[in-house]
Symmetry: C2
């Protein structure tokens, strides 16, 4: 945790938000977005995915984007890599943190990254070794997808999440992110999950939450995780991301609404909410046909609202 803040937000719009975008988001637009968000005080920005350009042309410019991001004084920059090859490229680029993903459910992991969960764990062990050789100080975060339910297998047992988390922690993960990428989670389930994960691993690694708002419960799940002691949250500016199987449904939770929730709750995020909302214009300029999500940006602040970060 950075000094002076209570909750650490991570902007994932440039990666999770853009990866399903058919329209290429111009490189200078990406750099303008991440530069503005770093200036607004965002503690961590995930700027791209290290995947072959023919697989995801959206990230063909990842070298240029990462270089620009790393040039920003004080910014903390992460990127996703789905495998060792991507991780090696990410280490070479010099990112501060690598985000790696595995599904808790076997069939989803096979569909998503075409390998068994065992193979994903083994690949992570190779990534740890590569990190130790290449750049000893790059942090390694592991996102556990389908931790709160799977589109193929349905409900996922809490115990399966704990067991898989244990394997990654033992292998050397610095952070475990419990992810509901399909918007299945319920706040009661979330509170139980984070109580268990933080109880088990909170003293050893950082624990983060990654929620989608597909069924409207994203911010309720944030509050539930907060109640369980979670202090790290992913979100996407303007909720960029959508959801391929649910037209018009939000993907990631909306960063601007998340910061409004936290700052209103007296929790310092270090993020300037007014400045954050203005960055939505950069998305509009680069993706003019993309409808933006987010209620705070439409309604404005409550009368007399003082964000925690600006309170005396």
């Amino acid at each position: 945790m950075r000094p002076g803040i209570d909750v650490e937000c991570r902007e994932v719009g440039l990666r999770d938000g853009l990866q399903i975008q058919q329209v290429f988001f111009a490189t200078e637009g990406k750099i303008a977005w991440l530069t503005a968000e770093a200036a607004a005080g965002m503690p961590e920005i995930e700027v791209c995915s290290f995947v072959p350009p023919k697989l995801l042309p959206q990230f063909a410019d990842n070298q240029e984007v990462v270089a620009a991001a790393l040039a920003i004084d004080g910014a903390f920059i992460s990127a996703l890599a789905p495998n060792l090859k991507g991780a090696q490229n990410a280490f070479k680029a010099g990112i501060h943190k690598l985000n790696y993903v595995t599904s808790v459910s076997e069939s989803h992991n096979m569909a998503n990254v075409r390998r068994t969960v065992d193979e994903s764990v083994a690949d992570f062990e190779r990534i740890v070794a590569a990190r130790n050789e290449a750049s000893g100080d790059t942090l390694l975060a592991v996102g556990l997808s389908t931790a709160l339910g799977c589109t193929i297998e349905g409900p996922v047992a809490l115990d399966a999440v704990l067991k898989l988390a244990e394997r990654f922690v033992a292998a050397g993960a610095d952070e475990i992110s419990v992810a509901d990428t399909v918007g299945y989670a319920n706040p009661v389930q979330v509170k139980e999950m984070f109580n268990a994960v933080i109880g088990e691993f909170g003293g050893r690694v950082a624990v983060a939450a990654h929620f989608h708002d597909t069924r409207g419960l994203g911010l309720a799940n944030v509050f539930a995780a907060l109640e369980a002691g979670c202090t790290r949250f992913d979100a996407s500016l303007a909720g960029l991301g959508g959801c391929p199987f649910a037209p018009h449904a939000t993907g990631n939770i909306v960063m601007d609404d998340l910061v409004f929730l936290l700052e209103g709750a007296g929790l310092k995020t270090g993020v300037d909410l007014d400045a954050l909302v203005k960055i939505r214009d950069i998305i509009t300029a680069n993706l003019p046909d993309e409808p933006l999500n987010g209620m705070y940006a439409k309604a404005g602040p409550p009368k007399g609202f003082v964000p925690a970060s600006k309170a005396a």
Copy 2:
């Protein structure tokens, strides 16, 4: 609380949702809506407001709507009245529960119902007397608007809410509804508020929550109130209501998403979620230009989802 359920939802779309609608929602449409929702198991339906037709033409058919609602076997029907005259008409119509509203903040009460808070309390005392004379068994609920913040005065003190609630409970209210009609509330504030209100009055009257989703925190606030022990929630099917000062912003929280949250959390509402979602078509048929809110209806249930009311 009805037997067999854990949380009691109240549909307010026919009143709070329609009151700002410029288009007249056809009487037979209103009756179709409330009939279908009663059949889906909704524990309480607020069907109209007893106000002069020249003030709110939308409710010119309130006699007919109430008569049709009361003819439904097992339905529990309420209506809003802003003053003694409206309450007398409501009692004459035979409703089961009367919903009366006062703002905690003086200037908002003056703007909304053109009287001081003292005058509102005095009028409620006359309403209690009229109820005792007219129909001893009509329940009286009092909604405390601006309890979590005011568009004119800004932040509202918790103590002011408790003091005003005390006056209404002493005057004979059966239910106190803590209302955030402007979507200002934050879940941390909500939990503190409901802990205090339920702690003070929970043993004497029913305590309900009325949230709007204007800034995206409506369902997070529901979970916060649940955590404090609140088991009564207002919502509007498809979030009908909008917000006059924030175009495209949701008004009331979405009933379908609320029921999804509760049933997913293992709390029985007695409401059939599939049947509820289908009733959205009645709104579309009667208000074809009105965009409907609600994420669950767009995304559908999670794979393997079993609502608490249908669990073995």
